[in-house]
């Protein structure tokens, strides 16, 4: 079943004429359930290859915290057909830029490489999807590597504070209760059996999808995908959407925290809808326009006009499979009178609940999104990321093309209603983070 869609109708007006950048995008589902998405973006003779697995730290349980990320490392350590060093040597010899990342929701392996080497990347990805080998000896070394990654993180005072406070944000049983990096004592004790059990449980063609974006021909990629991924017969039972504890009836479990820097940080934590939720786009528009964007209401007021804060940052993932706790950190110099910042934030939130967002802010947000998308059309990597996110969170990569429309459809009534739900006084928790000395 082949479909043709057009990705990225990046519409904007230029001298009164509509100009569109259209990259033909195709998809095909293999018999084993692997969806293959190909975006024919002409350009520099390179392509981005990404394999997205629908597994992340959300799938871990007590005792194997950090396994999704640990496992990502092991996917570079060899299969029945190639050793780890051989795998990397092959990618490097093709001049590939490769890596992977793990989030709460997903694990993504990616290579950016000349189109002539795309077939090799598909072959290697299919091979590790089917034939991974984990030995305790290699795992022992990799456990230490990941242990150092953990320690690197906590050697920075700000990141250490974020990690330490994290487990106070979500109620017990929430899929995002524990940070992706996991627990050091568990990471350094993982066994090859635990790893292989994780692999068997989550890595299969019907729990993944493949994206290729760049100077490629979709028919050739479909043939190659069929050739290498087609024989992977492993199947997992259909994923059942999990549930998560209600965030509206739980609170963060800490309201004061320390940081080993001469900074004060007011953290505001409140419920965030899942990306698939009908409230998501209104919520996201509020987050950007009220809190985080360069010309957001609070950025202008607290940083540029009143000079009472250094920065305002969102410190959680803005796209999520499950409802979660959003966190916005307002970073300031520690000084008496900072409480006025807290009051100012509540004041601005209440204005949005009562009257919505200023229309010029909403218009600017849409204009920014359109222009940013046009700029991003340069990049096969950016496009692949957008397609992947849309496929992952909406089960439809074509939604990447209509995000601006989704934001444009948000009304002031939506904004007031959504702000009233998620940012109501009773829902916004506050953590005062102060210097430890």
């Amino acid at each position: 079943m082949k479909k043709l869609t057009v990705l990225s109708v990046f519409l904007f007006f230029c001298f009164g004429k509509a100009v569109a950048f259209t990259y033909p995008t195709f998809d095909k589902k293999l018999a084993n359930g692997l969806k293959v998405i190909v975006c024919e973006k002409p350009g520099n003779g390179f392509a981005q290859v990404e394999v997205w697995y629908r597994v992340g730290s959300k799938d871990e349980s007590p005792g194997n915290r950090g396994m999704a990320h640990m496992f990502e490392h092991m996917m570079f350590r060899g299969t029945k057909n190639v050793t780890g060093p051989q795998l990397l040597h092959k990618l490097d010899s093709a001049g590939a830029s490769w890596n992977a990342y793990t989030s709460f929701d997903r694990t993504v392996y990616h290579e950016y490489l000349p189109v002539a080497a795309v077939e090799m990347a598909l072959m290697l990805e299919a091979d590790r999807m089917a034939n991974l080998v984990v030995t305790q000896e290699v795992l022992n070394t990799e456990r230490q590597v990941v242990g150092e990654e953990y320690r690197n993180g906590i050697s920075n005072s700000f990141r250490k504070m974020l990690l330490d406070r994290y487990e106070n944000l979500h109620p017990q049983g929430h899929p995002y209760k524990v940070d992706v990096i996991g627990h050091l004592d568990e990471i350094t004790a993982f066994t090859d059996e635990q790893c292989m059990s994780f692999y068997d449980k989550f890595y299969s063609p019907n729990n993944a999808f493949l994206i290729v974006c760049g100077d490629v021909n979709h028919e050739e990629i479909f043939l190659q995908a069929e050739k290498y991924f087609g024989p992977v017969t492993k199947q997992l039972p259909p994923a059942v959407a999990g549930s998560s504890p209600d965030l509206f009836s739980s609170r963060v479990t800490v309201n004061e925290f320390g940081i080993n820097l001469p900074l004060q940080d007011y953290c505001f934590a409140f419920p965030q809808p899942a990306t698939s939720d009908q409230d998501y786009f209104a919520f996201s528009l509020i987050m950007s326009t009220l809190f985080t964007d360069d010309n957001s209401i609070l950025n202008e007021r607290l940083i540029k006009k009143e000079h009472s804060a250094y920065a305002i940052v969102q410190t959680n993932d803005s796209w999520s499979l499950y409802p979660c706790r959003a966190t916005v950190d307002v970073i300031m110099a520690p000084m008496p009178g900072n409480v006025r910042v807290k009051k100012a934030i509540r004041e601005e939130i209440d204005k949005v609940i009562a009257a919505g967002l200023p229309q010029e802010k909403v218009d600017a947000f849409i204009a920014n999104l359109e222009a940013s998308q046009t700029m991003a059309a340069y990049s096969a990597r950016a496009i692949a990321g957008d397609l992947g996110s849309a496929e992952y969170y909406f089960h439809d990569y074509r939604r990447a093309d209509t995000l601006t429309d989704a934001y444009r459809a948000v009304t002031q009534d939506d904004i007031k209603r959504v702000a009233g739900i998620y940012l109501a006084a009773g829902q916004v928790d506050f953590i005062n983070i102060k210097p430890t000395e």
Partner: protein, 454 residues
């Protein structure tokens, strides 16, 4: 077994095909000219989208700071986007936001870079905003004080993490306090910096003849040239074009060790510093190749085989060339000495045996694709810094130069720069945990605040 052979055969074939493809030259033909005030402009087409990127390379950085001025270059570059005589900061930011872009500005040891990319439909307004930020900044006291406050909060030696400590004290240990690259700002000195000083530093260094502009993308050249003349033709150097800064190369002739204490640190940060080719040296390409292979060796040994670290990187780049290269890693405290020994072994082996054909081929492919794979004009402009690559015709031959490097040339370069007998090593970590291991390092210097607060 059959699958393995099949895979190996296909991979060999694919690599052969990939390596044999004709390589396009990604360096575009350029048009260059100078405005009457001395500003050099370099134009080139790059990419297919209606986007134009403007990158100003200013010949000012940490090297330009005299004693007491530590941090000024960074403050001056950072404050350019904080408002100017034509646009208040808020108005400027609102206009840029609607265009989906922003002004980026920053500095390193050698250069400051101010840049922005605009959709062609916005280029007129965009150029107006960018030129105003560069040539008419107000450099307001309140914003500068905020920048200072934020920088100080993160850079107080007592609060620095081990990576920051190794970096700051490594600069001191390498160059010394009399050298502009060896001095770091500290609280008492930094707090005294006024907006007037930033303005003076700016006026002295951010001048037309001390700046080169690279315009890349798909510009309407006639329009953009007109805009450049309109917006930048009247830019003048208040104090005249008197800026210049040069510095001596560090002397590293033997193995020297220094230590900085960070109580409670769970890891040790190790930074080795060695001499590299100086800017413009004919050894630069061969050195970069050798250095990348050295990083791969270290990663393979110290990360993949021993599991001591998450990463170990030997860094060097032409536009930040300080005459030295640095190898950095962060390891758990108990393997600090083992890591130094492993490094010494890897360095000695590299020096003695040089690189292999396979390693050279692989790195050449990596270098080729790093350039060919660049997607945006803004990113490609960074490959064209006219202060670094003074002869563009030579720069255009970069891929051929890389391709022509043979193993004998690389190994000769290794003999010159990778001697196992000389480096400076700065270690940051918890002395209580590391003391026993530190005892094994000869003539260890223990550094504290007094050496930088001078």
């Amino acid at each position: 077994m059959r699958t393995a052979k099949y895979l190996a055969g296909i991979i060999f074939l694919l690599l052969f095909v990939a390596a044999d493809l004709p390589v396009r030259n990604p360096f575009p033909e350029v048009e260059r000219y100078k405005l009457k005030n001395g500003l050099e402009v370099i134009f080139a087409d790059y990419g297919t989208l209606p986007v134009t990127s403007f990158t100003f390379f200013v010949n000012v950085g940490k090297k330009s700071e005299t004693p007491g001025q530590q941090g000024l270059a960074d403050l001056a570059a950072g404050a350019l986007a904080m408002g100017n005589e034509k646009y208040a900061r808020m108005e400027q930011d609102q206009l840029l936001y609607r265009m989906g872009t922003g002004i980026s500005s920053g500095s390193n040891s050698n250069y400051s870079v101010v840049s922005a990319s605009f959709l062609n439909r916005d280029v007129e307004k965009g150029m107006d905003l960018l030129a105003a930020a560069l040539t008419k900044p107000t450099l307001p006291q309140v914003e500068i004080d905020e920048m200072k406050g934020f920088n100080l909060a993160q850079n107080k030696p007592s609060k620095m993490d081990i990576g920051q400590l190794a970096s700051v004290y490594g600069d001191y240990f390498t160059f010394g306090i009399e050298h502009p690259l060896g001095r770091h700002f500290y609280e008492a000195q930094y707090k005294k910096i006024t907006a007037a000083q930033v303005k003076e530093f700016y006026s002295f260094n951010f001048t037309p003849a001390n700046t080169k502009l690279v315009v890349l993308g798909k510009p309407d050249r006639a329009l953009v040239k007109k805009l450049i003349e309109q917006q930048l033709g009247g830019w003048t150097a208040i104090y005249g074009e008197v800026n210049s800064a040069a510095y001596d190369v560090a002397s590293i002739k033997e193995k020297e060790y220094a230590f900085v204490n960070k109580s409670g640190a769970e890891q040790a940060y190790l930074q080795w510093i060695k001499k590299s080719p100086t800017a413009g040296s004919k050894d630069e390409n061969a050195f970069r190749i050798a250095n990348s292979i050295f990083t791969e060796r270290l990663m393979d040994d110290i990360r993949e085989k021993r599991g001591y670290t998450y990463g170990i990187y030997s860094s060097y780049s032409e536009d930040e060339n300080e005459g030295v290269f640095r190898v950095r890693t962060q390891v758990r405290s108990e393997v600090m000495l083992n890591t130094i020994q492993a490094f010494d072994g890897a360095l000695a082996d590299f020096y003695k045996n040089g690189v292999t054909d396979t390693e050279l081929l692989k790195i050449k492919m990596k270098y080729r694709n790093e350039i060919l794979g660049i997607e945006t004009p803004g990113a490609f402009a960074m490959q064209m810094n006219p202060w670094v690559y003074k002869d563009y015709n030579k720069r255009k031959q970069y891929l051929q130069q890389i391709e022509a490097l043979d193993i004998a040339t690389i190994n000769k370069t290794i003999q010159k720069y990778f001697s196992p007998d000389s480096y400076k090593l700065v270690i940051a970590g918890d002395e209580k945990v590391l003391n026993e291991q530190l005892a094994g390092l000869p003539n260890l210097q223990r550094l504290d605040l007094s050496v930088i607060e001078n």
